[in-house]
Symmetry: D2
Amino acid sequence: MEKDITIKPLSEIDYLKIHGRTTGDLSPLTLFWTASGIELNAKGAELWIEVEVDYEQYEPWISIVINSTPVGRQMLTKGRYWVCIFRGMNENVIKNVHILKDVQAMNSDPSHLLQIHAVKFDGEFLPVEEKKYKIEFIGDSITSGEGAIGAKQEEDWISMWFSAIDNYAVLTANALQADYRILSQSGWGILTSWDNNPNYNIPDYYEKVCGLLTGEKNELIGAFRENDFDAWQPDIVVVNLGTNDGGAFYSPEWKDEETGKVYKQRLNNDGTFHEDDVLAFETAAVQFLNKLRQYNKNAQIIWAYGMLGTPMMPAIYRAVDQYKKNSGDQNVSIIQLPNMTEETVGARAHPGKLAHKRAAAELAEYLKQFLYK
Amino acid sequence: MEKDITIKPLSEIDYLKIHGRTTGDLSPLTLFWTASGIELNAKGAELWIEVEVDYEQYEPWISIVINSTPVGRQMLTKGRYWVCIFRGMNENVIKNVHILKDVQAMNSDPSHLLQIHAVKFDGEFLPVEEKKYKIEFIGDSITSGEGAIGAKQEEDWISMWFSAIDNYAVLTANALQADYRILSQSGWGILTSWDNNPNYNIPDYYEKVCGLLTGEKNELIGAFRENDFDAWQPDIVVVNLGTNDGGAFYSPEWKDEETGKVYKQRLNNDGTFHEDDVLAFETAAVQFLNKLRQYNKNAQIIWAYGMLGTPMMPAIYRAVDQYKKNSGDQNVSIIQLPNMTEETVGARAHPGKLAHKRAAAELAEYLKQFLYK
Amino acid sequence: MEKDITIKPLSEIDYLKIHGRTTGDLSPLTLFWTASGIELNAKGAELWIEVEVDYEQYEPWISIVINSTPVGRQMLTKGRYWVCIFRGMNENVIKNVHILKDVQAMNSDPSHLLQIHAVKFDGEFLPVEEKKYKIEFIGDSITSGEGAIGAKQEEDWISMWFSAIDNYAVLTANALQADYRILSQSGWGILTSWDNNPNYNIPDYYEKVCGLLTGEKNELIGAFRENDFDAWQPDIVVVNLGTNDGGAFYSPEWKDEETGKVYKQRLNNDGTFHEDDVLAFETAAVQFLNKLRQYNKNAQIIWAYGMLGTPMMPAIYRAVDQYKKNSGDQNVSIIQLPNMTEETVGARAHPGKLAHKRAAAELAEYLKQFLYK
Amino acid sequence: MEKDITIKPLSEIDYLKIHGRTTGDLSPLTLFWTASGIELNAKGAELWIEVEVDYEQYEPWISIVINSTPVGRQMLTKGRYWVCIFRGMNENVIKNVHILKDVQAMNSDPSHLLQIHAVKFDGEFLPVEEKKYKIEFIGDSITSGEGAIGAKQEEDWISMWFSAIDNYAVLTANALQADYRILSQSGWGILTSWDNNPNYNIPDYYEKVCGLLTGEKNELIGAFRENDFDAWQPDIVVVNLGTNDGGAFYSPEWKDEETGKVYKQRLNNDGTFHEDDVLAFETAAVQFLNKLRQYNKNAQIIWAYGMLGTPMMPAIYRAVDQYKKNSGDQNVSIIQLPNMTEETVGARAHPGKLAHKRAAAELAEYLKQFLYK
């Protein structure tokens, strides 16, 4: 069974499809973002991949999808080693193999690392289909699939509760037969994080390969390089942000220990949002739309929001109105996603598998109008 | 995070629940059957298990279930090594951890082995609930969950397509909050295997721990010891056999190379079963019912059949009639399970996840009458 | 809108499709059985039908189905009068109109009558498609759709709780695109009724148009004439009987007031069925199979049983075995229908809409093998 | 069975619950709006109601709901006559009987009339529960349930395709155990109808009992009287308008034949809405919110929109923003309802039963926060 099995560095594979925003390096390939990964059409009996894994706190997990069906999901512990993907299969049949990082880029763990060096295989690789459409999803914990796996009672913030498989973004793209990239970070927003930290906003890091990471190692492997936007221009950009900006109004202030400056999105006495603060959010949203358009000239931009409530929806509508008026650009719209319910809640009080499934059904239906025309 | 993490052999764990028929040995524990495994209530932050794995052809897989929710499923390659179950969790919270063998006992691979030696843990274990009811399932590939995972197009007979999670037996037991054991082997029947091999019948091996295995190594680790029936008396025994006995009528003869004797369940010219051969099946079925009653004095015995068609159902009814008449024992009955459809087919033309789910719904509903009285 | 609307007796309609076993008379047409009715392809704006209705206790109801979609359901009170089926529609569009009797033939109300005399219409009728297949359903209250409509709390035995629409027989036939006829009577069985009355068995009346009716009026309108079997030969006969025969074992004896003779299907002390009595059922079942074959030379005969439990299933299997052995006829088989559950129960503790839907899904799937070959 | 059955005018019934906005008159009671009707707790065996019905083009239909379960639905043709609701029931059991008008108020048919004069009954009436909450729904064809019944191919604009049963408004109220009233008219909007007619707007007629009706007869029976708002103050007002205002942008101009004035919501060359015209809509929306608040001092006002697309959503958000800023009133919010899909479309290209069910699920979930606090 294992005769003729040979090792090939990724760079020597003829037909390798890479998912997710990354540096372009293949020696090794770094998987930064949720649902980034590799896809192969493998005609052979046995396949292994060589991974290099590190972390201080938050280990990576991968899911293995064979012929579009998830068949494995496992934690990757530290080290450089071989993981068997399949063995004992008919050597004459082509298997579509897709290996996904199940965990988001980890801003808070500079050591978090998942790289693929090589494959060990006894057959040949064939071309992998390019999908007709490309969709980029930008979001927070919802888009990171936090809580999409795990029991309702789970409360720990750990890698195990993240899923790229039961994730509305991946489900939506699959339903539309589209390639996809995800940029997401739990707790982050347009203006600030859920706890009013103004540094934890997605827009500031959009241009970089994976700018929200930290640490020297990530610098060395290219996380902070400029992203090559020309190489992958999406047909649609879905922005699922605002949930943490809404939360900031209900969270304590955040103090910048260096400057002593305090940040807080304020509530009025009657429970409504302070006008100045919600305006700051709107301004940030308009700026982000401008930036998105700058880098994605022809994409439909869809703000998709509502899986964990809709307090920011009026502000999002105002921001989109403002952006359209300023820019004259009409290719921006808003869709409200179905709110999580008691039946669809997952782990960590986040949307569960069923909530993601429902959101994907609504979102895919909405996106059709922009793709199938 | 990893301070104070210590290794404990299984034999030194205070509260260890073992699922599945096994020898009683803990140094190490051998997991023979589908859905056998260990269950722990673990109060601590990080847990690993030490496995020992071997095989020539068919490797073991495990599923990891935390707080009743599947969170991981992975191939176990050869060797003796540590597998991390969780890390970074709240050390003060009790996690229910259940690790299941996803693959059946492997008659055709004498090297196939999955053992657990020890755990590495930084907390304490607490008692695991005994369920109120016990159910034993005896079956073939259906009960082994063959094809319950994987794409419809899969045709390889490999470990990857076996599932103890999306398996009607486990789903039924979970729905009824019952403990369970599974004895099953793909291709085997009551009288013969699907290809008329009379040695590949489940009844002949019922008394042993895992009698259908082969090879010296399995003898050494106790697979052929007498099973300790007193230690685990089920409330219900579900027999899901007959599918391969039916198939034998449509398969070529099997020749015993040693004796030269040829075995074949014959079809008449009009396509009906030869009377003598179907009678041989019925006789074997009656004998198996006698044997089941001998070892399970108080269990309801349920013959559950039909997920892959019902050609043997008349013979099963005759056998059960015969058994009841002979024995006076009324605690035997038959339920027809819902047939697989185009919508519910899984891998390898076997029942898929949805077929197992439907079968479990019907079977659990039927079994309630014997448990909740 | 009502200009040019003219009255036509049924006998003068060019293309009239009649559903259900009836006499052949059209002046008027009598609808005897559940789901009997008329079907028209009507190109015109407005359509009425003239009905004649009578009853002492149990009034008829009808359902109106336009273009395969139920749009109305109403009680028909006594008298001869016009019922409007539609009005104000586009006169140039063809509407498929199907009017069904929602209530079973009523053995216990000799006055129960539903006849159609004529239509009033402003357009023309076009040919109605003959379906490729024909299925006859023979049953009891389940097949009469008793309880398929109405709240769970309903206990009255009245016409309102009968449905030909949410009825597994009609749903099955529609799923298979088959024409259908239903012969059914609540409480009746193969040998006796649920309360041991040996006169209330379906087989004795099978040859007549609607032999289980009573009274002079029914004789006059032809209910007791010989049925013209040549005119409508089914591809499949579904027998859903046995439920009341099973009930008879648990019901008090029935005394024939004329002869003083007492009838009772007996239970043994251990709760099993008395051997002689269950044998009497089996004998009656074999005889009925003989009779069905006599009148339906080429039909597959399917015994479909189990929506309200399966106590008679072993006896049904024995009867079918016996029949096949005696006759050499292999075109008889058995399917177990899904048992009603707490979720699927309808009115009067009978199968509700969902139970009928599930049964139809299983039955239609099973019947496909006999039709699509 | 029919002994002692006596006629009672509605005005003499002790416990009569009236649903829907009406005049207060009982001799007879006029049912104007969709889902208006009467509810009785009837302890007796047989119940009839005396209706008076008229129309030129669009006849009324009713649905009959017994013990919360729909059991009948029928067209009511012209005349004054008795309709039997039930007969032959257990005289000692209380039946909850709810009779609903299935068809909207008919602006275009001044003759359209449904009145109830009296009941004929052999038992006694008992008190009918007041629900804890009250919800008013204001809408267009969607809220009239147009197309919620009937085949997809139906295109006629006739009464038959209207449903108060499979209507999201009724389903929502039932899910929340709330009493409800519906005010709706197909084709109408906030500012104009779908075809730019500025007279066909709901807000102008809100204060009257049923102000959008026409003709002397309707004046005589009180349709144009001031509504008694004090008598029924809702907890929630749901406004489902805007769909036809959106359509007006894509429809030809409407010319007032008397004044010669032409009305048209204009599209810009790039397909966007003309700023002045969409502003006119927003102004009308703000005015309507003001009017709603004037008459419903304590109600939550919910704008629910999206079942047939969301082109007006930005304008609705701007209008609600504007209203809240002007008034300081925070008790207004917006929910986007799930868009109809190919799977959920009903008759006349309108939301079908399944679309209404989904919308009701989302809306009920959203409304809970305002009721259960």
